[in-house]
């Protein structure tokens, strides 16, 4: 584990946040399997240390853009279970009043500009948010999450070029979980992923995405530097997704075997390993960690029950929010 200055409270919050993501996903998966959730969803389980390590280095004023596999980012950025489950179930109390669903959750109150169902679709948005920060003299930083598969999209290279030319406070966080849908990363990505960022003169790091402290440590340093105008930065986080590409991808032996999954789940689980480290350092006892988990799981269960009972939006909302209102007073001359 990395050598960082943290107090026990920070450690326990990181642990809790990772457990929150796992608990959220386990419940979301069950909702799908029991046919209570409309549509499909992509599980973040296994990748918790990435979202938590990064988001714990950010404030609510810092922004993130997320992906189709976005529940982890959303929870890590501070979102509430109830509003998230409501959104997954298309309910009125969801973060987006049920209009976005799993692949579009946005939580502006915590700086989450939204998940995105277009692979690579938010790379411009993240970079534009950073451009706005620089133009307006604001010291917030934007983190752009995307997968290894998304590095095949041309948009990344257009926006990294501009971010580097203009020293924008954006951090490109590539979650390399080894697969682009049902295809191994080495079959879709030529050469080195970090070298692509380096070609633009962007400082790039490749780290173990299962080690929450290492991720947090690096991100803290890069965020501090980005605030001072030293960005952009690029981080490749080596990680693994435990479930299929989406919840319906159950028979996946044709593209990855059970042994490989077992190696990651048993040997490299970010929550188990961090828990052991916390115990070893005397930060928390196994009982205390269990109590944290029990509390979170109870909260998740209650949130699911709440969301299942919650109301759907009224039919009158269907054509609401197509356009934002513009105050007519601002459209007058001299306004």
């Amino acid at each position: 584990m990395a050598d960082t200055k943290h107090n026990s409270e920070d450690y326990l919050r990181m642990y809790s946040q990772m457990v929150r993501i796992r608990a959220f996903e386990d419940n979301a998966n069950q909702l799908y399997l029991s046919a209570k959730m409309p549509g499909l969803t992509h599980m973040y389980s296994g990748e918790e240390a990435v979202a938590v390590g990064i988001c714990e280095a950010l404030t609510d004023n810092d922004r993130i853009t997320s992906t189709h596999r976005g529940h982890g980012h959303c929870v890590a950025k501070g979102a509430d279970f109830k509003a998230m489950f409501c959104e997954l179930l298309g309910k009125e109390e969801g973060y987006c009043r049920g209009k976005g669903g799993s692949m579009h959750i946005a939580d502006q109150s915590h700086g989450n500009l939204g998940a995105n169902a277009i692979v690579g679709g938010s790379m411009g948005i993240a970079t534009g948010s950073a451009l706005r920060a620089k133009m307006q003299g604001s010291d917030d930083v934007t983190v752009c999450f995307f997968g290894d598969g998304a590095t095949a999209q041309g948009l990344l290279y257009e926006v990294m070029n501009m971010a580097a030319l203009w020293s924008l406070p954006v951090i490109y966080a590539c979650e390399n979980n080894g697969y682009s849908e049902y295809t191994k990363t080495e079959e879709i990505a030529a050469g080195s992923i970090t070298a692509r960022a380096e070609a633009f003169g962007i400082e790039a790091h490749s780290i173990d995405g299962q080690d929450v402290l290492a991720v947090n440590d690096l991100t803290q340093k890069l965020v501090a530097r980005a605030r001072k105008g030293e960005g952009p930065f690029f981080i490749e986080l080596k990680t693994y997704r435990y479930h299929g590409h989406h919840v319906g991808d159950i028979n996946r032996a044709y593209y990855r075997d059970k042994e490989e999954e077992a190696i990651w789940k048993e040997g490299r689980d970010p929550i188990i390993n961090f828990g052991k480290w916390l115990e070893g350092e005397g930060v928390a006892s196994p009982e205390e960690l269990k109590a944290i988990e029990d509390e979170i799981r109870a909260e998740a269960k209650a949130a699911v029950e709440y969301a299942l009972e919650a109301a759907y939006p009224d039919a009158s909302e269907v054509d609401m929010h197509v356009y934002a209102a513009t105050d007519p007073a601002t459209l007058r001359p001299d306004a």
């Binding site: 948010s129 451009l131 070029n161």
Partner: protein, 331 residues
Amino acid sequence: MREITLSKAVNEALAEEMRRDETVFIIGEDVAEAGTPFKVLSGLVEEFGTARVIDTPIAEPGFMGLAVGAAMTGARPVVDLMFGDFIFLIMDQLCNQAAKTHYMSGGKLNVPLVLRTNLGATRRSAAQHSQSLHALVAHIPGLKVALPSSAYEAKGLMKTAIRDNNPVVIFEDKLMYNDKAPVPEEEYLIPFGEANILREGKDITLIGTSSMVQVCERAAELLEAEGISAEVIDPRTIVPLDEETLLASARKTARVIVVDEGHQSFGVTSEIASRINEKAFYHLDAPVMRMGAMDVPVPFSPALEDLTVPTPEGVADMARKLVAGEMIHAA
């Protein structure tokens, strides 16, 4: 009143709004010192600096994406897309991201940006620099679409577009940049969704957009000489569309031609004609006729290109047939 070019009118609108609101900025290729290939933006970088008139690499999806993110987080970008034809390159950022963000977020996120670009053929620029693609974006809920038909319109619509809290696409006709029109010195804005009746008439309604407004006005003059009284209406914005004004005119004259420079099939003319058919059917004496650009890629040769867009003579000819009752059986 003083007369200025459409190009100058756009420039003034941008300068006024940039002075009024410091979150407004311009981003695109060669927008700063070069002031764009059409020189529409000349002088702005001198006043506002390169921090607010931002030259980008040739990366349309990239800078369009940046504008969406900047707009979502508190700025008001005006994106300069050099040719309307390049809209195909930015479709994801415009139609999947900008257009849908407000809705998908349940009304929590706004994307107040302006995409200014152009339309119009007969500049001998061939098939990839001559298209009029506004119907394509008008099809996508969440986007507003303005089609200025003169310098006066261009200034007033641009100012409203910048203050609107939604993504607005403005298509300027590239052949009209040097056309002059009276434009008041005093500040004014033109509201969206309010059609302009340029000429009152009683026998037929000619609805034209963008440069086709001039075509309709010219046709009306030809018709007037023959004793046919044509009403000419410019919707100004096709999203939102001022249906009421168009329907009222259709009910009054009972004959309508819709003229637009986009391809005729599946286009703006079809949409407006349908709405009139649906809502004013029993007032009509003839089918509502569509006149759009021919359904061919725009040819380079002047001998061919000029055949592809509606002309005053063509519109007047169609109007004569409608007034004479000839189209009823042809339809």
